[in-house]
Symmetry: D2
Subunit: 368 residues, 4 copies
């Protein structure tokens, strides 16, 4: 349904980068859920631009304005609508820009016939991830009260690789915990973080950008969540994560590594200890048959380098239909991954709360 997703919990997103506001409506929440607005603001802060020399200088306060569904700090059980006003939109930066390669400009022109709001990427701007992050942040608070933890780190950035998430649950929980306390780049290895910062700075200096891979882990998710045949955990999470601008690949567990493996090596042996079943490895990324199996969920998404680069690029002026060379100025992230990590966490939280709600009902969401 286009800009609405989810069944048990559904989220409707709206906005354009340089319109009056971006926002969304989160529906299917129970009444009586306490919201920690301070924690939510801190969550949103992680994707806010304008706070690092490595990111776009666009300064948005990203003040979350709740329009409905919350009273005295608790959800009312009716739709939770919110918006973030666009305050630092510099539309003139985008006036008369020809179609930017790698961006949605040309595809959008074919779809919207010139009526699209192209300023700042319009509906295709990374700015649209702000409401997604807000909605997911609320979902995350509900899941956390149920013992679920979700965290995302930069798994790879250009040629630099971070320590991967562990397949071993206890070790993974330690990694997530450390990641939660981390300021700066969301990485597990300080050394990798320094290399990544250098790689971003190098690209920025050349007027270029770099891509990478973000890895998300989920611990504490009960087994039995997921609604195959179609609403598998993989399908629901991938559907959401592919909505994040720049994502071009999503994999779970071994993912594409399965393609070069043998069954005897890839199968996770089942074990039993004190009456509890678990798997010795977690190649499946916590999901079998589209259903959570009780082991940590592991998801990785590939992000393309930001298409907005200062380097000269051949392209087409769609209004005059003639070839031109584009040299972008304006404020652009040389690498989206540091800010996208929290967005990916949010997207996963939204998808998992939806699936849990389908199974356990709206009332289950309440912490008491």
């Amino acid at each position: 349904m286009k800009n609405t997703i989810g069944n048990g919990v559904s989220f409707t997103l709206f906005g354009e980068s340089h319109g009056p506001a971006v926002g969304g409506v989160l529906d299917g929440l129970s009444a009586g859920i306490p919201l920690d607005m301070q924690a939510l603001d801190a969550f949103l802060e992680k994707r806010r631009p304008g706070k690092s020399p490595l990111a776009t200088a666009r300064k948005e306060q990203d003040r979350l304005c709740i329009l409905s569904g919350v009273k005295d700090g608790f959800t009312t059980g009716t739709p939770l609508a919110f918006m973030l006003e666009n305050t630092d939109a510099r539309s003139k930066d985008y006036a008369a820009i020809p179609a930017r390669p790698g961006h949605a400009d040309w595809a959008a022109r074919q779809k919207y016939a010139g009526f699209e709001d192209g300023r700042g990427g319009g509906h295709f701007s990374g700015r649209l991830t702000a409401p997604l992050t807000a909605a997911g942040g609320i979902c995350l608070q509900i899941l956390q009260a149920k013992g679920v933890s979700i965290g995302t780190h930069i798994h790879r950035l250009g040629a630099c690789a971070d320590t991967p998430f562990s397949q071993e649950p206890a070790e993974l929980m330690g990694q997530l915990s450390a990641l939660g306390r981390k300021t700066g780049l969301p990485v597990l290895s300080e050394e990798a973080g320094r290399q990544m910062e250098a790689a971003i700075a190098a690209a920025a200096k050349e007027g270029d950008s770099v891509g990478g891979v973000l890895e998300t882990a989920v611990t504490g998710l009960i087994g039995g969540v997921g609604e195959p045949f179609f609403d598998t955990v993989e399908g629901v999470l991938a559907h959401l994560v592919f909505a994040i601008p720049g994502v071009k690949g999503v994999e779970f567990g071994l993912g594409f590594g399965f393609g070069q493996s043998r069954g005897s090596a890839a199968n996770d042996a089942l074990c039993i200890q004190n009456g509890s079943v678990y798997t010795a490895t977690n190649n499946s990324g916590g999901i079998n048959g589209g259903i959570s199996n009780g082991m940590p969920v592991l998801l990785r998404a590939a992000y393309r380098p930001t298409p907005s680069i200062r380097k000269a690029q051949p392209t087409v002026d769609l209004d005059r239909m003639e070839p031109v060379t584009l040299e972008l100025s304006g404020r652009h992230d040389p690498c989206i991954l540091p800010r996208a990590a929290v967005v990916q966490t949010a997207a996963c939280a939204l998808g998992l709360l939806d699936l849990c709600t389908q199974r356990f009902g709206t009332l289950w969401q309440r912490p008491f």
Copy 2:
């Protein structure tokens, strides 16, 4: 909605491997679409088991039985329901089997509390891809009449790699055409095909299985298709492809390759020729901002090796809750990719017809 997917065209799937039948209901088709049942049977034949020494010996005739929605060879415009009876189910092969590593058995037990129909994998069996293939095969016929071609080849199987699909549209169309005429393994390179056959045979001999990657290409898709923010082409196709049992990763265009690229190399330069805009390369896989841009759509999916292997595996007997060693007999594919190729084509056809219908309406589907 669990077993229903799609908005403009929706598909509801049902069945268990050893129940009376598998089938589905395809809704949202216009009246007056001619169906080529012979072509549909030939399409289904590509995933049918029992026809190769490299595949499971289960022999299903897979006779498609139309229950509604077709009269005198044309769609009536009401739901097209169909089923395929399960005729060669040998449930005794599955009696008292402990949880099979890598399969849905343990996750399903947690979800369905023992009431699941575990025989032959139940609802999680590869057999469920038969109705998905049938539905997608019908969608494909509708798209073909609109000039859209879709084909899938084995991009990689274990260590063997096929010639990849070309980023150049004309060359790609030639590859799709050759692939359509091909019997045997769906590959572009004969030599790669022979290596893959050898790899499958080697794994089978050892009682093991191999994974791989299937690549799908779509040509002739008009630009402007896709419904962001959430119903991006990537999100909708990935949601469907992840429903295919064994898929653990999906990527578009450069996909995970973007993670190691720079923007200046990854952006597809826009060009213009005779008033038509196109891109010099197709790293984006035909999609920008979640919308088709008129270039070919390129999707790759990673398949895990079939979990069913003859080799001994440590596991747990969930009824007695004690560790056991599993040595599977029965009929199993050492590699699912040869049969899964047509399933992936079908899933993509279903998703694209859904998106096209949302944009152009049900009536657009008619060939006249």
Copy 3:
């Protein structure tokens, strides 16, 4: 989504009157629900044609064939698909019939352009209520195990009126109980039943048909069910009941009677007894603000007289586009209400189970 309805529990319906089969897929049921197939058959028997001199002589065995989702008498938690084969279709009765006034023929021609399966009304036949009744009958069994009772009687048939359902819960439960034991016409007053039979016979004798009103009552439904703003109890039930062919009006509680009332008379005073809140009257029909309030739900639906009458009618031959006079032969119900009562009960059961599942989750459905 056309032929699929429901969110927590969804139902997809298919079939044409003279096609191979009618049927449906019920999705969102928990695993582990025992199904009483004998009770389900008895429920279906109530709408089966061919068993009364007052009804169509078409003889359908209406043998419910379960295709998936049930094993050893319990639901498996995956889609419950079923069909009823069409065995006594006499298509020749319909060959070359001009558009029948009051039927869907002309509207369907405009929609389906002649490709519709017009035989026996096709997708618009009363026969399509068989799968709706089967699905609702399953839902009813689940609700009954939760203490919910649903029953329907003929409130009015032509000029004859039955005793209405009581606004007083205890009395109403007695009425539902008596109705459940009743054979013959579903009425509360024997005398009214005799008058109705006479009215039907009189219409039949004249080659005519009669309309009426069916009233459904629901007891034992917990307060707090319903998902406003849009998925009110009224909206969800009306959506389903209007799908029953022939229904042209739906009202709750006082319904259209509210139109001539004053607030002081129509408001249901709240009372309290032993810590329980209830209303002194039940003009609201158990629903306020679209949410159940714990009092019995009362719904009435108006049915048009069967459009198929033997009396001569002026109409148009749509193929030759010329005026003709239609004199129908064939087998037709002079009054649909006796058979429709169970369909209306089923439609309400389906809607209420959907809403309960949205609130309490799929797992709540289990009887243990």
Copy 4:
């Protein structure tokens, strides 16, 4: 999906009466549709409170604030979000009010456990019809450009009856046209209007309220619209209209009048003139088999008297769980019908644009 409705065009509604704002998100609109904001304001003005001695004195400017989806007066093709701030909310009027009979208070308490925002009716307030009216008003503009007209009059108010809409299309179009030019009560007969005003004044004087019936007519709707089995025109419109607070009955064409009719009298004879088919009468209200037949659509909805009355009423204090007598002060409409007429028109416009879009696609909405 709770607060989201529609498939081709979907609408998500949010807000509480005394929260920061009410609003909604309209999704599925094509790019390039011109919006007449002045006409939209005039449309909204018709339901605005505070402008008549017969209506609540709450003064809301109801300034429609567009948040996204519109640029330079044209839709952009992305979600059209808007809000109306709540400026004249006097929450103290509602402080410590016991459950009001006939209102959602008690049902909401059972659903939301005391976390609901009860001030001014919260999510159940008539104020929520403002965003519904705004969304429907936009849909109406799109339909009007396609030749569709929709109008609503007070068919009955207490004991007073207006001239009914004609079953004859040409005469009906004249009535709709006159109604469009009308100021004051939306009625066809001046005399009936005066009687209604007197009836409202009389009820208001006694601290009471009156109910009634609103009748909507649609002309110019092409045949073939509607998506049975479930998404019939009746079902979709009823689902929407039942969301309007106070509606307890919906009927089409003869509606409940069918219940006392014979088929020979109720069937609409088909005629042909100059190659066009039409019906001599329009008892079916323009719909057969759930599909529009090309004749005008006729819908009537019954509204309960406003539950908020000044007269003393026995009720229960839900916090202290004890019986009390309620004497409401505050600002309340003695009759909601004058303001609800435009809401009902809007709800029908939303439903019909959704169904037309499913059939003809999003692109069809464009006026060129």
